[in-house]
């Protein structure tokens, strides 16, 4: 098996009395899109910035493309690309000249014009940085991350604060990069982002990796239950739905019953039989599988907030 592109072993980092990282370990393999999922303050940005060579760890070892970011920073930066959580550039720099300037810093680089086209910035090529919208700035940040045609790409919350349309465009770009077999490390606190894009996810909280695996594995490993939302023509008798097969919890929220089931198929069969016997009409039924949000809740006891 080839050596992982990223190896992180027992990473610790303190900011004064605050323990930002408490023994983070994981590996990322060639061609993989790996996600660090966690709420703000979980330690995601500290981890990615140590890998990018922007910060130093207190303890632990890190290898990126076989290099130590502290010992060979310049060599490493030639083969990695990165977009910061918040990218700032001089206000009076034009879009195209920014890409051209960064391209000049690297031994190998892509054609800036091709990147302008790919990130739909052609019309803005002569615009100053301070004339760009939030989405355009983020697209430029992503274009800069690819300017050296990197082997490894770090993206720190690439869609945070963007509107849904721009977010979808960025998802499409990341899916294209996946097809190109680029190795990507992404941090996010958006569940849908992690579920849709990531091959594997590390759930991070309080500076620790709480769980690691594919989104499917994590959900399967979880004891989380399926949620069944039911709307009826008339209220059900008190407690009757609680006793259906597989139901672990039942609550009424306005006109909707929320059933949590560990055996959703059996629960639905039992529900239909029960309603038929009672002469109650089923007006609506929706089923929700456990999400990474449920997994996170189960692991940490708190919710990921968007």
């Amino acid at each position: 098996m080839t050596e992982p592109v990223i190896q992180v072993e027992g990473l610790y980092k303190n900011y004064g009395a605050v323990e930002a990282l408490r023994g983070v370990s994981f590996e990322v393999h060639e061609g993989e899109l790996f996600g660090l999922l966690g709420p703000n303050g979980a330690g995601k940005t500290t981890t990615i910035e140590i890998l990018e060579g922007l910060r130093t760890q207190d303890r632990g070892t890190v290898r990126v493309c076989g290099l130590d970011p502290q010992k060979s920073p310049l060599e490493m930066k030639h083969v990695v690309g990165a977009a910061l959580q918040s990218t700032s550039l001089p206000d009076k720099m034009r879009v195209e000249e920014t890409l051209e300037m960064f391209a000049h810093f690297y031994r190998n680089h892509r054609d800036p014009k091709e990147l302008l086209k790919r990130f739909q910035l052609e019309e803005k090529r002569n615009a100053f940085y301070n004339q760009l919208s939030g989405g355009q700035k983020q697209r430029l940040a992503l274009a800069l991350a690819l300017v050296n045609n990197p082997r490894m790409i770090f993206l720190d919350e690439p869609t945070a604060g963007l509107d849904p349309q721009v977010r979808r465009e960025i998802y499409d770009t990341l899916e294209e990069l996946k097809k190109e077999k680029k190795t990507i490390l992404l941090t996010t606190h958006y569940i849908e982002e992690a579920e849709r894009l990531c091959d594997r996810v590390a759930i991070v909280d309080y500076g620790r990796v709480m769980a690691l695996g594919t989104p499917r594995e994590l959900k399967q490993r979880s004891a989380a239950t399926t949620r069944i939302e039911v709307r009826l023509s008339q209220p059900s008798a008190d407690g009757a739905l609680n006793h259906l097969d597989g139901v672990t919890d039942c609550r009424k929220l306005e006109e909707t019953y929320l059933l949590h089931s560990s055996k959703p198929t059996q629960t639905i069969v039992a529900l239909v039989k029960h309603l038929e016997a009672e002469g109650v009409e089923l007006q609506g039924l929706e089923m929700f599988s456990p999400s990474l949000e449920d997994v996170f809740l189960e692991l940490t006891g708190r919710r990921l907030r968007e």
Partner: protein, 300 residues
């Protein structure tokens, strides 16, 4: 590294030329000073122009002290340096780009000042152009590096502005470019001997007024060069990319290292008194040239 430094320098020149503030302070203000000096101090007398141009050139070159060092602090505070830190660029390239771009930004002003003096104010001499070129070149680089050292030992724009203003006031009022050193009390004249700005101003005034030779500006050239090397190296070692990285109090003392050549040169000049003699001599020449012969005889 050479390629990266050059790319950064070109970018910073472009940014400076797009900044109205920079254009005002680096182009418009020195021109204002030039016209003000020649009209009010020289009273339009062409014979006084070379001396006044020497002072104006020194002022323009010293302006590199403010130049792009403030921009570097602003870049750090705004998180712009972090983006550059992701690229394979070291502190040396970033700092060198400040010096190189400052150098190229100073020259158009210097050339324009020369041309205005020669063709508008009918300056009778070009002085020793090679000595002027040498002093302007090394001066622009050294004062730029001195700005960088302040940027390296300060933690935010406010602190940088305060310290820059204090140092700039010393350069401006004690170097002889605004108030002639010959007018100052004896103890203040001795203080001026420890300022790099005094040597630059005196050297440029000498090169313009009596076409001072290379050997006459050698001392100041060596002192400015050593100062440049020290200031660059200290700035490189203290360079910070991150806005939250703060410098500790003791580390700030390293900034004094850049002044060592002038502390030594000042002590030496204090002992031999050569520079003060030169300053007073230049001032006498200009007084004689600017004063009509009849009045001059009457005074004597």
């Amino acid at each position: 590294m050479v390629n990266q430094t050059w790319t950064l320098s070109m970018m910073r020149i472009k940014l400076a030329l797009r900044s109205r503030t920079f254009l005002f302070f680096s182009m418009a203000m020195p021109m204002g000073f030039l016209f003000g000096y020649v009209i009010f101090f020289g009273r339009g007398n062409a014979m006084a122009v070379p001396y006044l141009l020497g002072a104006i050139l020194a002022l323009s070159v010293m302006g590199a002290f403010w130049g792009l060092s403030m921009q570097l602090v602003m870049f750090r505070e705004q998180g712009i340096l972090r983006r550059f830190h992701l690229a394979p660029i070291g502190p040396g390239a970033m700092l060198a780009s400040s010096i190189i771009s400052n150098y190229f930004l100073v020259f158009p002003t210097v050339i324009l000042e020369f041309l205005i003096c020669r063709f508008v104010f009918h300056m009778p001499t070009w002085g020793n152009l090679w000595a002027v070129f040498l002093l302007v070149s090394i001066g622009a680089a050294t004062f730029s590096a001195m700005g960088l050292i302040v940027a390296s030992v300060t933690n935010d724009m406010q602190e940088t502005t305060v310290i820059n203003n204090i140092i700039w006031s010393l350069f401006l009022f004690l170097s002889g470019v605004t108030i002639p050193v010959a007018f100052m009390p004896g103890w203040v004249q001795k203080v001026t001997l420890f300022l790099p700005a005094t040597y630059l101003a005196t050297g440029l005034e000498g090169a313009m007024l009596h076409a001072a030779s290379f050997s006459e500006v050698l001392e100041v050239t060596i002192a400015l060069t050593v100062s440049l090397i020290l200031a660059f190296e200290v700035s490189r070692r203290l360079f910070r990319w991150e806005p939250e990285e703060k410098i500790r109090g003791k580390a700030k003392l390293w900034a004094v290292a850049a002044l060592i050549p002038f502390l030594l040169l000042g002590s030496w000049e204090l002992a031999r008194g050569h520079l003060l003699q030169e300053i007073n001599h230049q001032f006498q020449i200009i007084n004689q040239r600017a004063t009509p012969p009849r009045q001059s005889t009457h005074r004597r």
